[in-house]
């Protein structure tokens, strides 16, 4: 005994009451009012008939690929129970859906390729930019940092570090970097885009030797020479875009390139660290500064601070045994880099 349902033919909005029965491989729709026939087929092959979006438990809406705009609405519970199992849910997958899937894969791949290529190109892009580029941005960051950790102003100490940095950069034919020491117990140092180098008072207190401070400074100048901070800034921006692509929102659109990002956003690559080391060793050798105390300081730091309380030099500059050994092995210098008076001034730089 066929049961009643409502048919919308997809051509106009009129409803047609039809009787529905399953006849072997078809849904057969029989009109109640032959005077107002719908303009869609009345025999729907089960293989191409499928439920539409499932939003209600009290009705089953069916359509067919023969007339994708048509809708058969079944509210009768018994008829729903008879029709639902024989429908072909796979028929819902349309060419439009498959095209959308292809688009999604293609666009996703394009984004991945662009971001990956961009990531690889950041180094070259950074090298193409003039040496001082990004300096203003870094000055803004230093200003922000200064609100929490004021810059140390001991004139003699500042002058001593500036002289040392100038000698180091001169050996590489680079403009002298701007070295800022901040009052911060953290044992850390980092370079910012545009030739800015930040040392913390914790680092100067922790090293205990002028050669170690010189080694750290030489290493950061190595990063400056290679434009690593600028490359990192560019890379961070690309990562930000990639994250936005996944999460829908930019987590650090304005946050990338902050001091926190330079401290917390992972480290440079092993290749970048090794290259900065190589430059640092060349600088130390050129200026006849002993590298042994520097590597000893790194070793001691690694032993003492395995817990990484806060953000240490090792967090932003992962140090391996090989790198420390390399520093010790290839260093030929014997001097301190700073005179005794200069070293005293540096130690007292923060008052």
């Amino acid at each position: 005994m066929p049961s009643e349902a409502t048919l919308y033919d997809g051509v106009d909005a009129r409803a047609h009451t039809v009787a529905v029965r399953v006849d072997r491989d078809r849904l057969v729709l029989e009109l109640h009012d032959p005077d107002a026939p719908p303009r869609c087929p009345l025999a729907w092959p089960l293989a191409s008939s499928h439920p539409t979006a499932e939003g209600r438990a009290d009705r089953l809406t069916v359509t067919t690929r023969l007339a994708p705009d048509a809708r058969l609405v079944i509210e009768d519970a018994a008829l729903r129970a008879a029709v639902a199992p024989v429908l072909n849910r796979a028929a819902r997958r349309t060419g439009q859906g498959r095209a959308a899937a292809r688009w999604a894969v293609a666009l996703g791949a394009a984004i991945v390729v662009i971001v990956a290529a961009g990531g690889l190109m950041t180094r070259h892009a950074a090298e193409l930019l003039p040496a001082g580029w990004g300096g203003r941005l870094s000055d803004g960051l230093l200003e922000q940092l200064g609100e929490l950790h004021p810059a140390c102003t001991g004139a003699a100490g500042v002058a001593a570090l500036d002289r040392l940095a100038a000698r180091m950069s001169a050996s590489l034919d680079l403009p002298p970097p701007r070295v800022v020491t901040v009052q911060w117990g953290l044992v850390n140092a980092f370079a910012l885009p545009g030739g800015r180098v930040v040392l913390t008072s914790g680092l100067i207190a922790g090293t205990g030797r002028p050669e170690a401070v010189a080694a750290v400074l030489a290493h950061e100048i190595g990063h400056v020479a290679r434009r690593d901070p600028l490359a990192r800034l560019l890379r961070d921006k690309l990562v930000d875009v990639a994250v936005a692509a996944v999460f829908g929102v930019s987590v650090g659109w304005a946050g990338t390139g902050t001091v926190a990002a330079f401290l917390l956003d992972g480290s440079y690559t092993r290749e970048q660290e090794s290259a900065a080391d190589t430059i640092a060793i060349a600088i130390l050798n050129d200026l006849d500064i002993a590298s042994g105390p520097g590597s000893g300081f790194f070793d001691a730091l690694a032993r003492k601070e395995s817990g990484l309380d806060g953000v240490t030099l090792l967090r932003s500059h992962p140090l391996s045994g090989e790198r420390a050994a390399e520093l010790r092995r290839r260093g030929t210098g014997t001097g301190a880099g700073l005179t005794a008076a200069e070293w005293r001034a540096v130690r007292d730089i923060c008052g």
Partner: protein, 380 residues
């Protein structure tokens, strides 16, 4: 009066095209626990898939909400799909987000060095970009949802091109910022008109004759009252917009009205915010003393706090706040959805009678793309 005439009309059989009563928009509750279950599963999947599931999540929710929203007694049908919305999103990322990210980065690095005084101009460009994103997202969302909504098998369609709307949002946003928001009524009117005028509900042409002049006084008064009403006067402007849109819009023989006052708009919005964040605020207020106590007892005297110490002291007292936030999000978001739909249904008045035989199918929207960033800028 037209509605009364409609109600007086004679009801005929379901296969008849004869008009019966003035159509009404109504919402039949979908079942609270059903929505909560769906929302909880969606939330979990969004977390597990690093948010990729959100395109499918919004699709499933819309399917249910649409199916329980009736126009003239017949439920709506949502035919959109997650993959389409994902495609739209990826297109926006590739064509808009990526180039803008690169441009902003280049400007930050290069331009600021060359001309540091232009920092404010750069900020303005950035703000305009955000406004533009939001507006574009909303338009794309409306366009997509309209084309994927069916009633009696008949779908809707917006007429405007995305490129035209893009340009419109760009210059109207700029002008609104430059004029200190005085141009906003015209911006709103132009955008609404662009979206609605020429749209189709099946074959029924939609006309929208809203103009900036209809909104300007409401905007100026809302602006003037803003400091004295703590911003609540903006709801009055919002109510005015809704009323004017309804008054100036027609779909074939149908006319519309929207009866909600500014106070009702405010109650809806503030109520929704209170539902989602109120529990967490209450828990925070209740736990604040314990939190301060934890900080004091954990303080190592004169020595400043370390990051780890602060985190350890705060985690335990903050857990109830987090639980309230998550709990409210899972349990109360479905109520927010339904409140918004009920609000629309309660206040939208439809006047006129529609001949069902005259409502014919609209041409299909050929796009396979979804709604761009709408999922992120235009909540349900």
């Amino acid at each position: 009066m037209m509605a009364a005439a409609g109600r007086a009309a004679t009801r005929s059989g379901p296969w008849s095209s004869a008009p019966t009563t003035a159509p009404r928009l109504g919402y039949q509750p979908a079942g609270y626990w059903r929505l909560v279950k769906l929302h909880a599963v969606n939330t979990l999947l969004v977390l597990v898939t690093l948010s990729i599931w959100r395109f499918w999540a919004v699709t499933r929710v819309r399917q249910i909400l649409w199916a329980h929203t009736r126009f003239d007694g017949e439920p709506l049908e949502y035919t959109g799909s997650g993959i389409e919305i994902l495609v739209g999103f990826l297109k926006v990322v590739l064509l808009i987000l990526l180039p803008i990210a690169l441009a902003v980065t280049a400007l930050q690095i290069a331009w600021l060095d060359a001309a540091p005084d232009t920092a404010e101009a750069l900020d303005l460009i950035y703000v305009l970009g955000l406004l533009w994103f939001v507006a574009l997202g909303r338009y794309l969302s409306l366009r997509y949802r309209t084309s994927r909504t069916r009633w009696r098998g008949i779908r809707g369609r917006l007429a405007g091109a995305v490129g035209g709307y893009l340009w419109l949002t760009l210059w109207t946003s700029a002008l609104t910022v430059v004029t200190g928001s005085l141009f906003k009524p015209w911006m709103d009117a132009l955008r609404i008109r662009y979206a609605l005028d020429g749209a189709r509900a099946g074959s029924l042409p939609v006309t929208c004759r809203i103009g900036g002049g209809d909104l300007v006084w409401a905007w100026l008064i809302a602006l003037l009252l803003w400091p004295f009403t703590f911003g609540l006067s903006l709801f009055w402007y919002r109510a005015r917009i809704h009323r004017v849109i309804a008054d100036r819009t027609a779909a074939g023989p149908l006319r519309f009205g929207f009866a909600a006052s500014g106070g009702q708009h405010a109650r809806l919005w503030i109520g929704n915010v209170a539902l989602l964040f109120g529990p967490a605020v209450l828990v925070a207020l209740a736990t604040l003393p314990a939190l301060f106590q934890a900080l004091e007892t954990g303080s190592p005297g004169d020595r400043p706090f370390g990051l780890a110490e602060v985190a350890a002291a705060l985690i335990l007292p903050a857990l109830p706040i987090l639980a309230a936030l998550v709990g409210a999000y899972i349990l109360l978001t479905p109520i927010v959805w339904e409140r918004r739909i009920r609000f629309l249904c309660r206040h939208l008045v439809v006047l006129g009678l529609v001949d069902l035989a005259a409502v014919r199918q609209a041409a299909d929207d050929p796009t396979t793309a979804g709604e761009g960033l709408a999922g992120d800028f235009d909540a349900l």
